[in-house]
Structure formats: structure tokens, C-alpha cells
């Protein structure tokens, strides 16, 4: 790819403002390289000659381009079994811990937020089928949420391309997907039904609260895009959405300790996760 086209600081701040209003994500000058790479991709995809051209295109009637732009900034690198050390941790440590106070038949709730086009919540479902011996003994509820209604629609459709499936063995693909054509696979209907999708903005308590409380939340690679204030609100919302003793898994580059003092750090062999304390501190 050609070198990213440099943005003037005025252009950069106009774009950052645009993205912030649309998504709540904050892009500071520190993320300039990241922003420029994506903008340069979108500019060449739309044959824009300059940033001004592109921005005009974006602010015109091009709703599709707004989505493409947001996608370029949000849905980077998503595929099945991403960061599977956390999935391992889920079935070797977290769930066993959670079921200690439950009995067979009880509900286990798992939240994937943001869930993008469904790779993560479906990965959780497949991982549980393959790796958790108690998978049929509990009423497992998996919820996938995202701010973007288009990705939610795609998630519910459950159609994926080769790239999204690259980490799955041919056996897993054969077991849980059927081939639509050379390029696309659709996940089994039962798996589609095993995940409920809902639109949620993590910094809006009115939207997070109705999701109820979860045993485990996967909230990977989204808090890094928020500013301190949004990040704190999101962390507090997530805390509210956890059952006492419930776990939250962040992306491997993220740390809750730097965001909120509410959570305990739990170090397992495969992953560091955060936990809502069982008893409220005085």
C-alpha cells in the first residue's frame, strides 16, 4: 500500500470529531498513524483525490461510506477463535468457578460486547461445544451486542467468508457450518439461535442495564478507543452488568486496573481477567 496521506491537524481534528460523534471513540494525535492508514484506504476505495474530497463525499448523501468508514475503524481483524487463550481460560477456569455456586439446569449468561459481525459470540458457542464437558448441563445464554446495527444484522445472518474462518480446522468448519458457495459459509441454524443479538452503546447506561447481569463478559479491544471519561462510564456499566464474582475479559493489550478500581485482577495460566468482587467492599 502507498504511504498514508498525511492529514493537516485541522483535517485530523475534523475527522476525529466526526468519528467521536458517531461512535464515542476518541482518536488523538497519538493515533495519527492508525487513522491515516485507514483514511488512506477509504480514500483510494472511493477514488477521492484529497481529504477534502473524501470528507465532502462522507458528509454528503453517502450513508454507505459512513458505515464503511466506521467499519474501517471498528471492525479490524475479526475472526473465529481470536485470542483463543481467553477461550481456553473460560473453559479451564472461569466457568468452573462460576458453576461452583450453581446447580445443573441453572442459567449461565455470557456477553460479547462489542460482538461485531458475530465471530466472537459464535466462537464462544463453538468453543463451549468442543471444550466444556458441562455444556448440556446448564442453560447457557449468549448475548452479542454492538453499537452498529449493520454488523448486528450480519451477525444474525451468520454468513462468513474464508478469512473469518481461517483459525478453524476443516473438521470444525464441516461440523458447524454449511457451504453456501466457494466463498461463503453459513453457521448452523441452531448456533444462530443460540446467540441473541442486541444493539447496545456501552457508554449509555439506559442501554446496558436492560441486558441484565452476566457470569462472563468479553469486552475486547473497544475501551482503547474511548477517552478517559467514556472509558470510566463503560467500566462502571460493565461492572453493573456483572453478577457478583462474574468475570470480564479484555483485549490482551488492555488493562482494567488503569481504568477502574472496581475490579479484582485474576491471573490464570492462560490469561489475565478481571472480576467483580463477591462481597462489596465497605
Amino acid at each position: 500500500m502507498a504511504d498514508p496521506s498525511p492529514l493537516t491537524s485541522d483535517e485530523f481534528s475534523r475527522l476525529a470529531e466526526f468519528l467521536y460523534r458517531r461512535t464515542g471513540m476518541v482518536f488523538t494525535e497519538a493515533k495519527r498513524y492508525y487513522v491515516e492508514r485507514r483514511i488512506s484506504e477509504r480514500m483510494s476505495a472511493t477514488s477521492s483525490r484529497s481529504f477534502t474530497d473524501y470528507f465532502a463525499h462522507l458528509r454528503g448523501e453517502e450513508r454507505r461510506e459512513v458505515e464503511e468508514l466506521i467499519n474501517a475503524f471498528t471492525v479490524n481483524e475479526t475472526y473465529f477463535y481470536r485470542e483463543d487463550h481467553q477461550l481456553t481460560c473460560l473453559t479451564t477456569d472461569l466457568l468452573d468457578e462460576r458453576v461452583r455456586a450453581k446447580r445443573p439446569g441453572d442459567t449461565i449468561r455470557i456477553w460479547s460486547a462489542p460482538c461485531s459481525t458475530g465471530e466472537e459470540p459464535y466462537s464462544i458457542a463453538i468453543w463451549l461445544l468442543e471444550n466444556w464437558k458441562d455444556v448440556d448441563a446448564y442453560d447457557i445464554e449468549i448475548v452479542g451486542s454492538d453499537i452498529d446495527t449493520d454488523v448486528l444484522e450480519a451477525a444474525a445472518e451468520g454468513i462468513f467468508r474464508k478469512r473469518a474462518l481461517m483459525r478453524l480446522s476443516p473438521e470444525l468448519i464441516a461440523r458447524y457450518f454449511y457451504e453456501l458457495d466457494d466463498e461463503r459459509w453459513r453457521i448452523l441454524d441452531d448456533l444462530r439461535q443460540s446467540v441473541r443479538f442486541s444493539r447496545v452503546n456501552l457508554i449509555d447506561t439506559k442501554q446496558t442495564r436492560p441486558q441484565g447481569r452476566f457470569d462472563v463478559i468479553f469486552c475486547r479491544n473497544v475501551l482503547i478507543y474511548f477517552d478517559d471519561e467514556s472509558r470510566r462510564i463503560a467500566a462502571e456499566n460493565l461492572y453493573d452488568n456483572l453478577l457478583p464474582g462474574g468475570f470480564i475479559c479484555l483485549g490482551h493489550t488492555e488493562s482494567m486496573s488503569r481504568i477502574s478500581p472496581l475490579f479484582e485482577v485474576c491471573r490464570y495460566s492462560g490469561a489475565i481477567v478481571y472480576r467483580k468482587p463477591l462481597e462489596l467492599r465497605a
Binding site: 445443573p104 461445544l129 448440556d136 448441563a137 439461535q193
Partner: protein, 129 residues
């Protein structure tokens, strides 16, 4: 082909993940699998199609496994005698007794290993040699 060739099994369970889990165990063994989401749907399917075995959960909305079994066994049709494996998270003797008196052939307590489920299925639908 394996020893389960061409035998048809109906899974009746309201949990989509559980159906997928049992289905993949049974298909791996060569069974043909059909699904129903509750007792009512199960009854409809079993009366209209032909199966060698039904694997039925107990706690389900609309019609639970006990009601399904009693309704099935009370009909004076050839299909009423189909073998039924009950799967349940309840492990108490009174639950097992209730299932037996409702007409279950066998009672499996969840969690059930996939290999074990396939093995019991083979035995109860006469595919075992």
C-alpha cells in the same frame, strides 16, 4: 458406514446449544438427526415422520418431557412404542421414577458425554451389533 447407518433419531430439547451438541455426537456416529424445540413440536414430528428413537429433555416450555411421554404412550399407534431416552439435569431417584412411569426406556443425567450418548442411542434404536 458405521453401525448407526440410516437410523433416524429425533432430539427434543429447547436449548439450541444442547441440540447442536447431541446432533454432532449422533451424526458422527452415522445417525440421521431431526430436531424439535419442545414436547408439542416433538409429538407433531413423531406422529408424522418415522423415527427409530427419540431423545427427550424434561424441562421445556409449552410441553415438558413428562407430558410428551404420557401423550405419546397413550396413543394406540405403532409409533407409541418408539424407544425414548430421557435426558435431564435432575439426578434424583424420584425424577427417574417419574420418567420411567411416564414411559421412558432409559434416563441419562446431564452432562452426558458425546460418545456415551451415541452409544446409548445405538443400543436403543437397535443399531448396535
Amino acid at each position: 458406514m458405521t453401525d448407526g447407518a440410516r437410523k433416524r433419531i429425533l432430539i427434543v430439547d429447547d436449548a439450541a446449544l444442547v441440540r447442536t451438541y447431541y446432533r454432532s455426537a449422533l451424526e458422527a456416529r452415522g445417525f440421521e438427526v431431526e430436531e424439535a424445540l419442545n414436547g408439542l413440536e416433538g409429538l407433531d414430528k413423531i406422529l408424522l415422520q418415522s423415527f427409530d428413537l427419540a431423545i427427550v429433555d424434561i424441562n421445556m416450555p409449552q410441553m415438558d418431557g413428562f407430558t410428551f411421554l404420557r401423550a405419546l404412550r397413550s396413543k394406540e399407534l405403532p409409533v407409541s412404542a418408539i424407544p425414548v431416552l430421557v435426558t435431564s439435569t435432575e439426578a434424583g431417584p424420584q425424577d427417574m421414577a417419574a420418567a420411567r412411569s411416564a414411559g421412558a426406556n432409559y434416563y441419562l443425567v446431564k452432562p452426558i458425554k458425546q460418545e456415551a450418548l451415541a452409544e446409548y442411542a445405538a443400543i436403543f434404536c437397535g443399531a448396535h451389533r
